[in-house]
Each structure stands twice: as structure tokens, then as C-alpha cells.
Symmetry: none
Subunit: 197 residues, 4 copies
């Protein structure tokens, strides 16, 4: 169905390498995540194998991002189905994000390490892609009259960054209760967005 059909072996290897890359980037930070380290993590005999399956380090990193974003999307899609109102959607968005951070802390750390390690030159398009779903919810709420009249871009940016907060926090304090954290964020943004009565 897809543009380039890959053999089973090939995609299995690619998946294995991507998994090792995630583990390594999350563990050592992007700067120290060399092909050598990734190959060791994947128990590969040669870094050449990575180059064989990925044109560049950049392609590998892009694939890692696609994998992580794919997981997030799937996770979110399952949870966000047909919300009854914008504020319910917002609540679900916040909760689902923190649930994902709790469920997949390694993937989340890898994601952030890539962005912050300066792996790719800052790409506004990627940022926009992450912001899009939030902005959709916010616009819906404003149109339906649930939400007050704020700047959608500012609110979306703030919300997006608020759910990334605990990812770092988890590194320093792994026992953090993300369910409680989510509840606080829900209240915070409910008050911040709700149309005053």
C-alpha cells in the first residue's frame, strides 16, 4: 500500500535500530548518542549496519521522531474520540498527555533530548504540528462560547509547554504523581480558558 515496500527483515531491523536509538538518546542525551553507542545498545556488530539502513544520522533521528509521534498520536486518538465539549476535550488532552508521559517516559525523554540537543535546526513546522490539535480545541471552545476570548496561539503554546514540564521533573523526582499533576493542570487551564460568568 505504501510508497516503498520494504521487506520484513528490513523493517524489523529498522525497528530494532530505532528502539535502540530511543533508549540511547533518552539515557545518554543526544550529544553522546553516537552510532557506536546505539549499535552497542542494539547488540549490533557494526555501526555500518545503521548506515546501511538509514541514509544519515538525520534520517535515523527523523525516524525516531516519527515513531514517537506515531505512538503519541495513537495513544491520543484512542482517548480523544468524540469529546462532548471543548472543555472536556481540553481536559482529556491534558490527562492523556500526562498519562503518556507516565507510560512511556523513555520515549518522552528521547523526544525532548532530540529537540533540545539541537539535533535538527529549529523547525517551526514541527512546532506547529504539535500545536495544531490544541489550537483546534481552543478555537472550538471559543466558537461554542465555552471559552473566553484569548489569543489562541499564546494559550496553545502555554498548554503545550505545560505538559512537557513533568517530563523533566520525572528525571529528578521519579516518584512524582502525574495523576495529581494532571488534575492541577486541568483546573488551572479550566480557570484560564472558561468564559467568565
Amino acid at each position: 500500500m505504501q510508497a516503498k515496500a520494504k521487506t520484513f527483515t528490513e523493517s524489523a531491523r529498522r525497528a530494532q535500530i530505532v528502539a535502540a536509538a530511543i533508549e540511547t538518546i533518552a539515557g545518554l542525551g543526544y550529544a553522546r548518542a553516537s552510532f557506536a553507542q546505539i549499535a552497542k545498545e542494539a547488540k549490533l556488530s557494526s555501526t555500518g549496519l545503521i548506515s546501511y539502513h538509514f541514509a544519515n544520522k538525520e534520517e535515523l533521528v527523523r525516524t525516531v521522531l516519527e515513531d514517537v509521534f506515531g505512538e503519541i498520536s495513537a495513544f491520543m486518538a484512542e482517548r480523544m474520540s468524540t469529546p462532548s465539549s471543548a472543555s472536556a476535550a481540553l481536559r482529556t488532552y491534558l490527562e492523556a498527555n500526562l498519562e503518556f508521559a507516565a507510560a512511556q517516559p523513555t520515549r518522552m525523554r528521547a523526544l525532548l533530548n532530540i529537540f533540545l540537543g539541537g539535533a535538527l535546526g529549529y523547525d517551526p513546522a514541527t512546532e506547529q504540528a504539535a500545536l495544531e490539535p490544541v489550537e483546534r480545541i481552543l478555537r472550538w471552545g471559543q466558537e461554542s462560547g465555552e471559552f473566553r476570548d484569548f489569543d489562541v496561539r499564546v494559550m496553545a503554546t502555554t498548554i503545550r509547554r505545560s505538559v512537557e514540564g513533568p517530563v523533566f521533573l520525572l528525571a529528578g523526582a521519579p516518584e512524582t504523581d502525574l495523576t495529581a499533576y494532571a488534575e492541577e493542570l486541568v483546573t488551572l487551564f479550566d480557570l484560564a480558558t472558561r468564559r467568565p460568568t
Copy 2:
């Protein structure tokens, strides 16, 4: 009060190198900010000159951080003097931060790239230092009855990250109006923190 007396030439060179380092880290990200790149930016004859003035890359980075933090502190100190209420303090905090981001976008980008680039192993203490002033304001507001009863840590983290948001945004959209952005954040967090009537 002065730690070590340096000659004029030396501190001029150090300043020049620090400035070039800021420019380079802001522009290329921490990972790609090698001595070679910094030397090129500063038009130095060799990377050896950097090593001549800084014992380590770490010392250089530390000096960059001190420079940036120094600027921020001076800027904030001037603006935050004797606020009359916690909510006024919070407003000032948000405004001053965004003003600084508007005035010194390069310094700000460098700062964030350093932290996110994993230049220094993630250090909870540093994070706490950044959070401390915000938490103080929030506790004050809760004690005085201005603010409602939220989790201080969560709110502080969210506020801190909210003011970092526009730093990246500026790279993609330099025309962003940070005064308006600040006004939105002030309203957002006023609603989020204020004791309901």
C-alpha cells in the same frame, strides 16, 4: 569583593569570546557549537586562543551562563522592586521576563540551548533556583488570601515554562509582539491563580 583581578585586555578577550559563544550557541544549538565554530564567529586565529582564556569548555559555558544570568538578574531586580501585592508581583514577573526575551533574544536562545543541549547534566538544583522566585510569589499570594489553593510546584513550573515559550517562537516568527503576549499571559495566570469570589 572582586574574585580575581584580570587585566583589561584579558577581560576584553574573554568578553569577546563569551559573546561569540552566545551567538554560536544561539544560532547552531549547543551540540554544534564547537570551539572551531566559536573561533570562526569571533574571528580568532585559532581555537587555542579560547583554551588560553578558558580552562575548559565547561568553564566557557559556565561563564556564558553567568553572563546571561547576570543580565537577567540586573534586569529583573530593577523592575521587581517592592511590589504591593502577590498578583502585582506575578504580573511584573511575567512582563519583565518577556521584556527581557524581547530585548535579548539571542542571549535567551543561548541559555535555553545550553540547558536543553544537555551541556550540564540535568541539575535539579539549577531548575529549583529558577523556580524559587516564582514559588515565593505564589506562596505569598496563598498566605495573603489573594490566590486560591493550588499546588505551588505545578503552578510555578507551568509559569516558568510559559515565559520560555516565546523564546523559541521568536526564532520562527521574529515579528511576534511580546507585549501583547505578556498581556495574554498575565490574564491567563491571573484567572488561574485568583481566589474565586
Copy 3:
């Protein structure tokens, strides 16, 4: 018995590099035996190839020592089998050492340059290992009554250094007759150790 199985190509390369290192260390002294010099001697494309095969300079030097000690041990083992008396053993020890120095002058010079170059922090244990076989012979001779009552440590140190003497001498006067040199040393230490009648 074998520690790590290496491929043929790898051990060939390692051997080639070790040989070049020996040549270089013997010729220029340890201090000037940089990876660059060794690579030039071995006609390698880059110093990176040395780092590819040896984790450290230390590992390379250790391998050089193992190579040289291995050769010496093999050489000595063949010659020292079941001596009939302590004085015969001492004679054989002296002769075998000088024969080796004549047969492998480069290896010997490399060995001494490494030790004297301070490549490894002065290690009493290594020195003791070199002294051990001599001390064993001397104690045997004292117990059997062949040798007089001298301080074993002093005599052993003197003997050990005496066989190192010609290694340097060879550099200045390559025509030196080491067989005659050995004969002189045999007589010297026979007189010095023998129980007076």
C-alpha cells in the same frame, strides 16, 4: 584459554601497529613516539586507525610490553631449562639476556625507553617481577652453599641493571661483541657471588 577471538585481519593490523610502535619508541624515545609518528612508520592513512584498534595509547603500550615480554619469556624458557646448579643458572641467565639483546636490539631499546620514559607511573610491582627470577637463583645458591652471604636484593638489582647496560651501548657502538660482553659479566658475577674458599 584464549581471551578474545579476533579476526585474522584484525590481529595482523594490531601486530603491524605494535611493530611500528616498537620501531618508533626505540628510535625516537617514548616521549616523541606520538600516534602520528607511529602511523607514519606503519604507513597508515590516519592516526584514527590506531585508535580503531587500540582503545588507548595505554593499551597500545601495554600490548607492546606484552609482545616484548612474550618474546623474552619464550627465549629464556628455552634456554633456562633445568640448570644443574645456581651458578650455572646465573651464567645461563646472563648469557641468555645478552643473546636476546643481540638478537632483538630494537625490542630491547623500546622496552627500556618505555620504562624510562615514565610511560607507566613507576611501578614497584613490575620491577619486582623482573627481579624475581634473579632473586630465586641467588637464594638457591645461598641455600646450597655455592654463594656467599650477600644481600639478595642488592645483588639482584645490580645483575638486572648489568644486563640492561649493553642495550644502550649498542646504540652508540653497534659492533659491540655481546658474546664477549656476556663472558665478562659471567666472570664478574661469579667472583662476586661465589663463596670464598
Copy 4:
């Protein structure tokens, strides 16, 4: 009286630098005895000052050697005056050498570190200079009939190396009794050189 008259200040500085060089070479080994380290030891403000007073590192090292050899010669000259016999002279030579090693361990260590560090390409002339006085004693003894008919070069080399032995030994075992060591050597070489009766 001397070829190049130097000002007082100049020779004082040179002496100070030489002293610091000795201390540094003895302490850190030749390889790590950089101008920077020597300047620090001498509390000099700049390594440039060393270059100002010495054309090369080589000249500095040569001057160090001259200083050390000068001290040794003076020490020896005082002790060796008009010996009554070759065997007495040999005894005195051995004792004086070990006394010097005990009195000036730093100078001795520096001396050896220079030779062994490969500081200067192996120079047969220097070695010959060290051997000369010993050979003179040995020839005297053979001519007077006190000594047996051995190869002077071999015996001299062995004697020379025997007195260097304890210098290394002192590093590992500083409590070594060099007087006793000297007595052992005296006996050893008395037996080895004496004409059999």
C-alpha cells in the same frame, strides 16, 4: 673570566629557573615537565620568561644536566682527593655516589628522568663522560696489579649502572638504607675486580 659575562640578575634568574626545572622534572617526570609547570613551580608570571633566558627547551635541559653534573663533580672531587690505591678509590667512588643519591635525591631523580624520558637523543659522548672517571680507576688498578685482567668498558658500565640502581629504588622504598647498600656494592666489586691470590 668566562666566555660570556652575564649580569647578576640574569644568572640569578637562570638559576631560579633551573632549580624549578629540576624540581618539576623530578616530581612529574620529563614528559609532564612543560614550561607552564616549571613557571608555576618557579612562581614566574609567564612562560615567556623561560624562553627569554633559554633559547630552547633543549638548552634548559642541557643547563639542568650541567648543574646536576657540576654538583656531583664537586661532591666527588671533595671526597676523592688523593686516594692511596685503586681499590680505595673504587670504594670511595661507590660510597660517594650513594651518599650523593641520599643527599640529593631530587637532583638524581631529575637526572634519570631526563635520560630516560628521551629528552635528548641518546648521546654516546655524555655516557662516555660519566664512564671516564670509573675507567680511570679501573685502568690504574690493572696497571698497579691490584685488579685482575677484565674488560674495562664492561666493568665500568656495570659499576656505573649499579650506583644508579638505588635512585629508582628510593622512589618505591624511601626508607632504604643507602649506607648498607653501598657496603654491599663495595664488597661486590671488590671481589669482582681484585686480582685472585
